[in-house]
Symmetry: D3
Subunit: 131 residues, 6 copies
């Protein structure tokens, strides 16, 4: 089952190596994370995903720290263990303090709670929100 | 089925009115949203939820705008129609521009995609993330 | 697009009518809900689903009211609008008071919140829970 | 990364110890679960969450056993490993027999199935449910 | 709130028109769906999303019909009303019969049920699956 | 906690053995997976679930390979670790190549992304999809 093992740089095809090189250059890291080493089993998806992540996570109308915290909030909501670990690390690297992490988790928890209260009470959307 | 209609201020008990008054004062609004008018069927949950939301959404290590955008990101991930409408409005009121909204949605979409790629490829957590 | 319209009793095949008859007899109702009228486009799934629901929702180690409230809790968590409406009605028919509904929503909301706090803080399972 | 280790009682601040003491007293236990030891990194969220859980899970219109089973049903639906383990233990402590657990899982499974059938067949809400 | 209205071709910028033109040419349609008209508020996300969808949904190791049915299965699981409607239509256009739709829904329902049974019973992964 | 250990054939009741025998015969395997050994704690749910899975996963309007890939797509979307492992193995056994797996994951990822874009932009359903 080939997709169950990571593809290391030394074993990668030129196409995969080109993506790995761009990740390492862009993020200033020695090696790429497991996510990319497993995705390398599908070089087309690897390249498209990296190109998209690179574009989406670059500073724009929102700064990198805010983007990483939003990524983490989504990953926590979905319960993706790998993503919580990797984007938790990325958010901290981008400047998230433990106090900010605490605030972030409090908001994520509260949103998940009130989402269900709104569902359960079948609350209709206020006309003001549709103007 | 009493919980299927909103409780307006004029029909509310003193306990519910006290919460409505605090919401209006804190948020500087003329009337409370439907969410609170439906939750008013359970005054204990109404009070606890408002007290929690008030504490969690106050400026802290994260500012109000960031908190509202995270709330929106979670609501979009869960597909809660009411919450997307109400917290979209709240985030805009707190200063979210359309460019920031665009960036936010791009990150939310990308995170939901890569969360599933990590699941599907069964990617193990890098040792570096657990240090 | 045939599956976009309900199949009424008068237009149903004998196989579908047999299931409709059993639903009406078991639940003591005049007509079946839309759920069954749409599912009738696939008579095999209609029969299997009804047979399963009938078995699962019958009184057993848990009574009917508890089962309907659990069904509602799941539907609220998943944000299924139809299911929230139909199982909210079914739970009330089985004896759920508004006070019980309020308690139920409070627990559902809290569970959805703490589920994410446990995810986000990456809490390891206590040894005691695995004994 | 401080939030990646539990905070034990002996290392806790007075504010955290006060919450731990109340948990131990209320639940009649020797030590608190990992959930609280990790949440202790944010004493404000720790206190608010415990106060809310204590209020929500106390006997009311629903008894403790029903509440714990609903909590478990939500956790299973969300796939929260920690919460399934901890609330599975809590429900059993509150009196859930293996037969009741079996019934609970059967309902949770069925609800998750029919939620998607209702979504997929795009079933409109029956007028009777909105009366 | 500009993002709450669709952007029609006649009002679109050249950058947006170029994407709309490519969608119409690729799919052989007169007009693009609402999804693209709303996404047009963020031309960068519009272009990236269309380029990705175009690449991912083209025939490859899987044919177009299978891809559309998988898309529909995911949308039904997530409860995305818009996506269920649009990809239901796309799958039918690609050749999905009502019998195939019935089979698809049966599998989606069953998978959502057994996913929760596996969660609830805390079933450990068989060694054979990791080989 | 009895439900925390698998029930092996040698320890199983006649009712459970009959289901295990049918699984082994139908799937031509030496032993059943852990899923069935844990579900065996509730013989009624074991039998109903197996009968349903056997019916649903048999070749029909969709072939076995397509059904297994849809099952996997749902499991990846829900983040069910056990189900991803077991149905990943089942899909490969039914003929899914690594190239097909790559395509499948690309579609699953894209659908999860666009589901949230549709939610966030609050895209109304096109009239054409309701005809």
């Amino acid at each position: 089952m080939p997709s169950r093992t990571p593809i290391e740089y030394r074993d990668a095809s030129p196409k995969v190596r080109a993506v790995f090189d761009d990740i390492k250059r862009t993020r200033q890291v020695e090696d790429v994370n497991n996510f990319w080493k497993y995705l390398a089993h599908d070089p087309v998806t690897l390249k498209r995903t990296w190109d998209s992540v690179k574009q989406v996570m670059a500073p724009g109308a929102l700064d990198v720290l805010t983007k990483e915290m939003v990524y983490l909030a989504v990953s926590v909501t979905n319960g993706c263990g790998y993503c919580i670990a990797s984007h938790g690390a990325a958010a901290r690297k981008a400047g998230m303090t433990e106090a900010m992490f605490g605030d972030l988790m409090a908001v994520v928890g509260m949103a998940n709670e009130t989402n269900r209260l709104a569902n359960g009470y079948r609350v209709p959307i206020d006309a003001a929100f549709d103007r």
